[in-house]
């Protein structure tokens, strides 16, 4: 144990404190077990076909698509922080930028991995690039997500090269330095790509003329859900960063980011969330009064089936929209750690609920006069596959946290706290 800790320590940056290799391995073990289970479930789905899942002809999209949409929205923090740092020049957010890039990479690569299992014929996925249907929102999503994943990988590389051992190789150091010059460019490209795919993920549902619950009119080729998805994603991206960073701080018992950064993120999140709620409310009113009746569907009909009642809409706009927006915008609550976290958590739940409603409720509702309302429950294969992705995320993040400078301010803050031993940040 002691010797392995010794070898391991050569890889850890100077001046920061990490646990010994033994406890770290112990921490990773359960996640590797979960990952193995996920890989087994995924293998079953690939080998025996998607009959292994609980999806059916009506619920052609299930748990996977819902969670993919959710984690891609939550992962929006990556591009949005890049946008704020490099294009809006809010330099203090640099403290979370590296962490955001890793989180974004995890969310996007995880989503792509699940998609590869979710499609029936993954080996034909490249057809989308060779024979693209330019009218399809999914084409836009596929192009943007795969390109953006490449961008994220490029953003990840300099981070990896900052590792203490790797820096010893001169060519890596030179390479990393050159990469630094292009990072703002990458951030700009990433922002553009992300705007489009977050939007087109929303457009995915908004264009469904055959599903009056999801269908929205819009501007040019983009239905309103296109813009709502962008807005909601950039609204909760910072909130998700607050949550994850605070969680890491809690687990490691360290201060990683200055408090002011959290407050800044919270404010941005709250502001955008307020905007989103306003836009969403207007959109909902137009949909209820114009779009849905035009298709022959009474507005409240969509909420007539239990458990998908009107409470969902109320929760989405009130509990998970207005409330967190207020908590994050109001200075007094924002400065109180508990309320900041509550606000951020509610905002994240809100975007997940929104993605859930659009994925599941859309498909559950009947369209034909002689249709039935249907329910769907994922089975263990679906849950385990996704659990595997979560495990992959935790493992990758843990390793990155251990060996890479995810939080550039960490050393500084550690020094400060050593000086003021008595001062303990609120728990």
């Amino acid at each position: 144990m002691a010797s392995s800790a010794l070898t391991d320590s050569r890889w850890i940056a100077r001046g920061i404190d990490r646990s010994a290799a033994g406890p770290f391995a112990l921490w990773l073990t359960p996640w590797f077990v979960l990952l193995a289970l996920g890989v087994y479930a995924a293998w079953r789905c690939l080998y025996y076909g998607l009959g292994e899942t609980n999806m059916d002809n009506r619920f052609a999209f299930g748990l996977w698509i819902f969670l993919d949409l959710a984690i891609i929205a939550l992962g929006a923090g990556a591009f949005f922080t890049g946008f704020l740092v490099y294009l809006m020049r809010i330099k203090e957010l640099k403290a979370v930028l590296n962490s955001a890039v890793v989180l974004g990479f995890i969310c996007y690569s995880g989503a792509v991995a699940v998609l590869a299992i979710d499609v029936g014929q993954p080996m034909r996925a490249w057809f989308t690039f060779w024979h693209p249907n330019t009218h399809s929102m999914l084409t836009e999503v596929t192009f943007c997500i795969s390109l953006y994943l490449a961008v994220l990988a490029f953003e990840y590389v300099p981070l990896v090269l900052k590792n203490r051992r790797l820096r010893k190789t001169t060519s890596f150091l030179v390479f990393e330095h050159h990469m630094h010059i292009v990072v703002p460019v990458l951030a700009a490209v990433g922002t553009l790509l992300s705007f489009f795919h977050q939007g087109s993920l929303g457009g995915l549902y908004g264009v469904l003329r055959g599903r009056p619950f999801a269908f929205r009119e819009g501007f040019s080729i983009w239905p309103t859900t296109f813009f709502l998805f962008i807005l909601s994603a950039i609204a909760v991206g910072p909130s998700f960063l607050i949550l994850t960073t605070r969680l890491v701080e809690k687990i490691t018992g360290k201060k990683l980011v200055p408090r002011t950064v959290f407050e800044k993120l919270g404010f941005i999140s709250g502001l955008l969330l307020a905007l989103y709620v306003a836009a969403k409310s207007v959109d909902t009113l137009i949909w209820l009064n114009v779009t849905s009746p035009a298709a022959g569907f009474a507005p409240w009909e969509h909420y007539a089936y239990r458990p998908y009642g009107l409470w969902l809409m109320a929760a989405e706009i009130g509990l998970f929209g207005l409330l967190p927006a207020a908590l994050l915008l109001y200075r007094k609550t924002r400065e109180r750690g508990v309320w900041l976290l509550t606000g951020a958590a509610l905002a994240c739940c809100g975007v997940m609920l929104n993605r859930f409603v659009l994925t599941v409720q859309t498909l559950a509702l009947p369209t034909l006069a002689f249709d039935e309302f249907m329910q769907y429950m994922p089975n263990w294969q679906e849950v385990a596959t996704f659990g595997g992705v979560v495990a992959y995320g935790v493992i990758l993040y843990s390793i990155s946290y251990r060996y890479l400078p995810l939080f550039p301010k960490e050393r500084e803050l550690a020094a400060e706290s050593r000086e003021e031993v008595n001062h303990v940040s609120e728990r």
Partner: protein, 483 residues
């Protein structure tokens, strides 16, 4: 970094960069997706040019004309020669490969041999008497069975009657005519009062009433919900086992309202009493009776042999009248039905056209020829040619070659089959019948409680609906339709 490690990296980098500019990754990508389009474990259709032949369906006695699509020596599609086929007919060619296909001799559910079956049958013939049972008596091969039975000592010939024919037996008795010669003239009927008869679910052949249905008014009196009831002009719910009661109630009203000859004998109880027995309102009975009288020619059809139904038809004037029950004949002569088999038979040998639910009575040893295994088969199961593997007439060539180990009843008995050159034309003959008194009703005439339709044994000789439901054609059970 060590020197060798750097060298390996450089060489590897060169290889990796270089391979991108060769066909290797791109061709493999393309071929791999082509591989998914032609997975070796996905079955492929047989190769060879398509040809169309003609034949007749053998899945039920209706014997619909077929246009048969063939490729590479196999049947790859079916089409009706004159009109549509039924749901089973469209996939009959797949039935030959059904998991229930019988390929070896079975005795009491255990595999056996042809030699053992032959020895057992020879022994039974020596001990006698033995019955040979036929499902479709108008074929050339049937003629051969009849001749053979007549010429062999201790041998007799029976037929398995379809339920709709059996239901006419009480009327045939009253009219003194062989039941084989009686038939419903439904093509000219305007209104049918059906007492639990599965008219749209295969009665009288799968397609007969289907084709007439758009122009035919059906009053369905039923004790179990059926698709016929769904599609009927009127649906009336009756108590199980009360077909006779409803028939008598209607008859009473007909006489009362002077819609039937005044001299007709009246049913034993009043209309109100019979209606109560049937579990219907008297008003409903009135409506039915008036509809019958207003929509002549009308006819009453029962599911089971029910004397009261025969009596009601006589009262209605439907016997011997256009659009009612008529006499056609001679069709192929009068036969003894399997239901009237004497007791004390030593053995019965059944042709593959006999439905599985037709079982010889008593403890006669069973030799059943069949292409498919049914449920719980006692006695001998002898593998017979399947669909189109023998000529529908029993004489002449077949379109398909039967698999190894399959024999026909004719070959087993060693009879020679000659094609019948000319068949008598079914001509209309007068049929008259008077009702002297109300007959005693039959005990029970309702469908069994577990009857779910839509395929009754009546339509599916030689198999029950189960075979169809297990077949490739049966789509995943969808809500409502087949429940």
């Amino acid at each position: 970094m060590s020197k060798t490690r750097r060298d390996i990296l450089a060489l590897g980098g060169g290889l990796a960069a270089g391979i991108v500019f060769t066909p290797v990754p791109w061709k493999i990508l393309d071929d791999a997706s082509i591989w998914t389009q032609n997975w070796p474990w996905i079955p492929q259709p047989v190769k060879g040019p398509v040809e169309w032949k003609e034949s007749a369906c053998t899945m039920c006695p209706a014997g619909c004309g077929l246009k048969v699509k063939m490729a590479g020596g196999y049947v790859v599609g079916l089409s009706g020669k004159d009109g549509a086929l039924c749901a089973l007919g469209y996939g009959a060619h797949q039935m030959n490969f059904h998991p229930r296909r019988l390929r070896v001799v079975y005795r009491d559910g255990r595999p056996s041999t042809w030699e053992a079956a032959e020895a057992a049958f020879r022994k039974a013939c020596e001990e006698g008497p033995v019955a040979v049972v036929d499902g479709r008596p108008s074929r050339s091969v049937s003629r051969a069975y009849q001749a053979w039975a007549a010429a062999t000592k201790g041998m007799s010939y029976f037929v398995a009657r379809a339920p709709e024919e059996a239901a006419l037996v009480p009327l045939a008795r009253l009219a003194g005519a062989p039941v084989e010669e009686l038939a419903y003239d439904l093509e000219k009927t305007k209104l049918v009062l059906s007492l639990n008869a599965p008219l749209l679910e295969g009665w009288g052949g799968p397609q007969r009433v289907q084709r007439l249905w758009p122009e035919l008014k059906i009053v369905q009196a039923e004790s179990a919900k059926s698709r016929t009831g769904d599609c009927a002009w009127q649906r009336v719910s009756i108590r199980p086992g009360s077909e006779a009661a409803l028939a008598m109630a209607v008859a009473y009203v007909l006489i009362d309202e002077k819609l039937a000859p005044a001299t007709s004998p009246r049913p034993p109880k009043t209309a109100a009493d019979h209606a109560r027995d049937a579990g219907v309102e008297l008003n409903t009975v009135l409506e039915i009776a008036r509809a019958l009288a207003a929509n002549r020619p009308a006819v009453v059809i029962g599911r089971e042999p029910e004397p009261a139904v025969a009596a009601l038809n006589i009262l209605l004037g439907a016997v011997g009248a256009t659009g009612g029950v008529v006499r056609r004949g001679p069709v192929s002569g009068a036969f003894q039905s399997m239901d009237e088999m004497p007791t004390g038979l030593r053995a019965a040998i059944l042709d593959s056209t006999v439905p599985h639910d037709h079982q010889p009575s008593g403890d006669a040893e069973r030799f059943r020829f069949t292409a498919w295994r049914g449920e719980d088969e006692k006695g001998w199961l002898l593998p017979a040619p399947g669909f189109l593997e023998e000529n529908p007439d029993g004489a002449g060539d077949a379109l398909l070659k039967p698999p190894e180990g399959v024999r026909t009843l004719a070959a087993f008995l060693g009879v020679e089959v000659k094609a019948i050159e000319s068949r008598p034309v079914a001509a209309e003959r007068p049929l008259t019948c008077r009702l002297a008194a109300w007959p005693q009703p039959a005990s029970s005439a309702s469908p069994p409680a577990d009857w779910t339709g839509p395929w009754t044994p009546a339509v599916l000789p030689p198999l029950s609906g189960k075979l169809y439901q297990e077949s490739a054609l049966f789509p995943a059970p969808e809500k409502g339709l087949l429940a």
